[in-house]
Symmetry: D2
Subunit: 421 residues, 4 copies
């Protein structure tokens, strides 16, 4: 008889459950430790047999199972602010996982509160970002919550140093083990993106194997004709997509996003292979597919540049850089991130209009744009019409701007021994 | 008899001459105004019949003609620092024209000093950025120089309100007029890029016509097989390109850049259509092709992320944003831009290594990277090996990071009426 | 007979009139040029005989005179946002003049619109910041307005190269000339501050003469006992001042500010002598007195640090730096400055509480603070009580933070030839 | 017989020893745990009986005692870069303690390496910044070192929950206990500053008691005549101080700094009372005296503004903000802080010249400045001389700057329902 069955009850824990081997073992292990386990599986757009997962969790002894469809709030409350921000971590990563975590964890805390559970648990590793994103959300929304992170508990990670030990444990406890061979990398999917990392990808020189990608087609075999779309924005958020080719339209946030995923995926848009800096201080290599997110990044950048004042844009760009870093690091639910979202949202009031673009062979090409609120003034900028502009003014403008440079030159000339630049 | 022939000599002017209609008319007009004109034509990689231009200038009365090949210094002294910076104006524009201007104007000032000319002249318009970039360079390097900018002089621009008047003037003064019909947009080319703007492109909704592009092939008809390249960097600058397919290599800066232009152009890489904010305060629409620059942007971003410390990168990113803005606005030769170049160059010391990438159908795909100086630690990041890492430390890390968030929650709870975010 | 009397009417101009020699001469000169002149004198807290000025303007031929008390809106709409921002230009200047200009010019544009005047005029010099601040406000609020700036018109400034020519002109046109000898520097005063510059102060080495200061007493002769004040803030704005010594209180914005000016002036608080960088590109030397502004700067800094989250503060500090620069340069009425004011105002919602301070011998000493919304947690920070804090967590926090530094050290060790730092 | 003598040897530890009760108890406790203890006492300018401390440490069983005078390197290698940066944490704190920690810890690591010790130990608390500053330095310079931080070890801090238990332990182990009653706050002193915190100061409303200050005289009783000093800078660092009153001069870094401490202390300069944000996420209240540092902050700010280009200054200001935060948080020895020091040092090349200032009643007043490398141009800025400046240019400058504002106004007018700002 297992020692664990003797353990006194430690109360209820809400476990973020995926249905996979790791969290199935964790579920059983938590019970062993004396917890009542409520399994929580967020439907955030990943491909998954949710009913099978529910049955599995119950079979493994979950007291209760929550399967929550949070796709819509993921799009409207997490992805949209990121689109408004043109959020990009380290110039490349569209933050697909980082945006999903606070959305998933927020619901988990809500369930814990509803169920009177004192604990939440997750299966994130001890080296990654997700543990941080997960737990900072929990602590920010419910400071009294206790987090159980087995992969950081010596009694857990020393017992399961590798996959083999997990498999043994699973077999011993009647946990179904995967029948298909494991991919030599790990994946994490949601509506916005899928990530591939670890395993053979840990060597940053290794090229991604051909069959790895699942959300986008290979540009080499993608259609030979583009899809041309018009995306309409209001307050910096897409409100309508029209496919110029077949006239298809989508207007609700979730449907629109799913549609863009389809189109972008079909044309192989949104693949990147990067090395990034984790919050815990190490560099890691990740391969990501973000189909709809990539289209929206380009489209929003364009309509924003078209409608926003130059100097407001510059300030907003600085705020968005900070925002992206905070989201990556797990601080979505923090005073500073709230503050930034408020400021960025404010900046989006004039970001209204329609962008036309072509999706083709892995690329998004902007074709044109129009807006009822643009600051673009065709007459003013025209090479052929003078408009309300006095060319002679530019002389004064340049002369005054050169004043400082001339003074600097004067000083430099005085300094006989010039430093090597 | 023209009044101008009576004008007393105003001294010598060095005119930035392109061989086209505008600067040919300006050349003659400057002579009319009483200047001795030295024509200066910079070979900065554009496609041009330089000898024909020389003859034309002499025929129009230029006292002397300088045709200067500054391609190499353009690459080494201007493009390379931009590559190190990942320089991008408003998140999209790789600064092809902005980088060329200070290079062209610097040589022009040198010629003026060598020739004892008190004046320099150019044919840039009064609404654009180029006048600023041109003149700030001149004033910074030679504060006493006088600039003649005919397109800002009422006596000039009122005399030539449109192309027709220029044509009339040209015919009257024996200036050869173009035989091919003018494109309904204007172009500016150098080794790094070509820009298309004005004319029918002034309507930001108008799609670029199919035949517009000249430096890149249409991705729709580009090769069905990628070129795979390895680009080796030292101190953030490419020092060798190897084509994995055919083993071709290039090592000298200029040849390497030309080669990348060929490969990228062949695969349709580097096209953008944007609305940007000019320094003089108006929005303008431009279409650009930057083939080699686009490859290098992606490759450098990758090797930099691989080798540079996270926090150094963040600081450097801020400096590069400022650098890009300064370059766009014409402040290459300014104390602040010198300072930034110094700092950015310093940051590039560890940026050493090789990036492997694929060029295909308008896209650049990073495939892998390696470096003798990377901060990437495969063992540390491994999911399967613990390495020199204690998972339990992450618990303390997260707890301390959550402290501030918990305190904020405590405060928020005290505030009974919560503000709408 | 003057040629000017023949000039056809150029319409109406609203002149920012000070009552002094310069703007009196400008008033007459504008009439000479054919303008109908409306004199506008803003009461923004300076010491002035407004009625005498009104009579003088009418006597000189002003069609109408507006004397407008805008002190209250100056405090509430301009100084308060600066207090919220801790606005400081180049780390030292509290922006006393820069804040007043847009307030003055805004009213002037309103008068022009009410009177149907097409022009506004001012007596600011062509080298300074005030011309810019003045005119950017006018153009931003009324793009069609025409500005007449005599000190930038060659026909004016060449006619009046020095004070002597102005005096001659005044005598000739019956303009009263000052009877007291001119100070060998120029002054500009408003409710917030007084500036001294030009004349003997142009040599940056020259010490300010003893009798120069007018708004503050010499700390050497100021009282030997401090005044102790409590300043209460709401949303980052002072709402009540209490003098602990005599129990005096002030609550309305204007009265509170005037009272702080009195107290601070009595104790010699707020004097600085600086060299600053003007927007037009030159360095200038200014001596300023900002009594109440200096107290409020220190008090607000303290209550803000006490109540605002650390990371919000950091972001807000960056925004305020930009805000200060914009205000200095004259961009108060710009989209970016509006945006910043909105964001900064948002950040001030929790800035509530009371600061106690002592004003003595030129200094402001913070003595203590309290707030119903502070994030300060006495138990948490206590050295003697553990509170809700686990010291062991700090170990993990430090270890994870050191990870990146150790990796860097590892890399540095690999690089055999270390660069000189 | 003590249990500790039975413990097997854990190797050698270098303890940062202060001679006080805490670290004396720690010394004995470490021996109990089985360590060989080397006591290290840094002379960094604090008032201390170093020989008494040496004897005490030996008496308590230290294997060896190092008393290291690191004052000179503290000034030259740590304070000088901070002066160049105008380093200020959260707008107020001159970083006196934060600068000392990496200097102290660096020597400690050197001693550990020399002695072959695997461990270092310190007596910093688990809630503060010093533990972080200390340990990050150790790990950055010697990644393999082990840190023993008793105040974060449950077996230690649970054994000594309060001062009483420490006293008991001391008495039991023959550790001399302080004969003077403890101040109801804690202090930390070095050459640059002294801090007071904890105890009765933990209530942020409590005013500092009159007798608290030790490094500066009360301004109320300080001399009634100022000291006037001239401070000469080279590359942003003070190289000579001259007292205009008595002609005294100091030139070497350490002597100069000590002299400024004397003068500033005599006049009550450098006291602040603040609430600051610790790196671990809590707010704390501290009272600081930084006499010489305060004078140098003002003097350097002045000479820098006088000699540095406006735009370089702005960039450098941003870097210095980041630098200050890093220093506060303990990242002196990090790649990013190294990078920033390099950039800031570069910016200081033109910062050469002499500042004259007056020190009086708690204040530093700048009186004037001169420099062989100033960008100040007296003729250019003169109100009476036109110099090499064309006032008409300012018209064009303003007009072009207003273009964007006019366009924005045009847009706003189109938007019928204006948003409340």
């Amino acid at each position: 008889m297992e020692k664990s069955t003797m353990a006194q009850s430690k109360g209820t824990v809400v476990l973020a459950y995926s249905g996979g081997l790791d969290t199935s073992c964790i579920l059983v292990w938590l019970k062993e430790q004396g917890y009542d386990v409520i399994a929580y599986l967020a439907n955030i757009g990943q491909k998954e047999d949710f009913e099978a997962a529910r049955k599995k969790a119950l079979a493994l002894g979950a007291k209760k199972v929550y399967i929550e469809d949070i796709s819509r709030e993921f799009v409207e409350e997490f992805i949209w602010p990121a689109v408004q921000a043109n959020a990009l971590y380290e110039d490349r990563y569209l933050l697909g996982t980082a945006l999903a975590r606070p959305c998933i964890a927020r619901r988990q805390v809500e369930i814990a509160q509803r169920e009177g559970a004192q604990h939440v648990a997750h299966g994130a590793t001890g080296k990654g970002n997700d543990q941080v994103r997960f737990e900072l959300t929990c602590y920010a929304l419910c400071p009294k919550i206790k987090v159980v992170a087995p992969w950081r508990l010596p009694e857990f990670y020393q017992r399961f140093p590798g996959r083999r030990e997990l498999m043994d444990y699973a077999k011993k406890h009647g946990i179904p083990v995967p029948v298909t061979p494991q991919t030599p990398w790990s994946m994490d999917e949601n509506l916005m993106h899928i990530s591939y990392e670890a395993g053979i990808l840990e060597n940053p020189k290794n090229q991604a194997p051909p069959g790895l990608y699942t959300k986008t087609r290979d540009p080499a075999t993608s259609p030979d004709n583009p899809d041309v779309l018009e995306i309409k924005f209001e307050r910096g958020v897409p409100v309508k997509v029209t496919n110029i080719g077949d006239g298809a339209t989508r207007s609700s946030a979730l449907e629109l996003f799913v549609y863009l995923n389809d189109i972008a995926g079909k044309h192989g848009v949104g693949r990147i292979d990067i090395v990034e800096n984790r919050f815990v201080g190490m560099k890691s290599r990740g391969i990501y597919e973000t189909p709809a997110g990539t289209i929206l990044y380009h489209a929003h950048l364009d309509i924003e540049a078209f409608t926003m004042d130059r100097e407001v844009r510059k300030i907003k760009q600085g705020l968005a850089l900070k925002f992206s870093e905070l989201v990556y690091n797990g601080f979505w639910h923090s005073p500073e991130c709230e503050f930034l979202r408020h400021c960025i949202r404010r900046s989006q009031e004039p970001v209204v209009g329609t962008v036309r673009l072509s999706v083709f062979k892995g690329q998004v090409y902007i074709l044109g744009r129009e807006s009822p609120r643009s600051l673009y003034n065709e007459e003013l900028v025209s090479m052929n019409v003078q408009g309300d502009y006095e060319p002679a003014d530019a002389t004064g403008f340049i002369n005054i701007n050169s004043l400082r440079l001339k003074e600097y030159h004067r000083l430099q000339s005085k300094v006989t021994v010039k430093q090597d630049e």
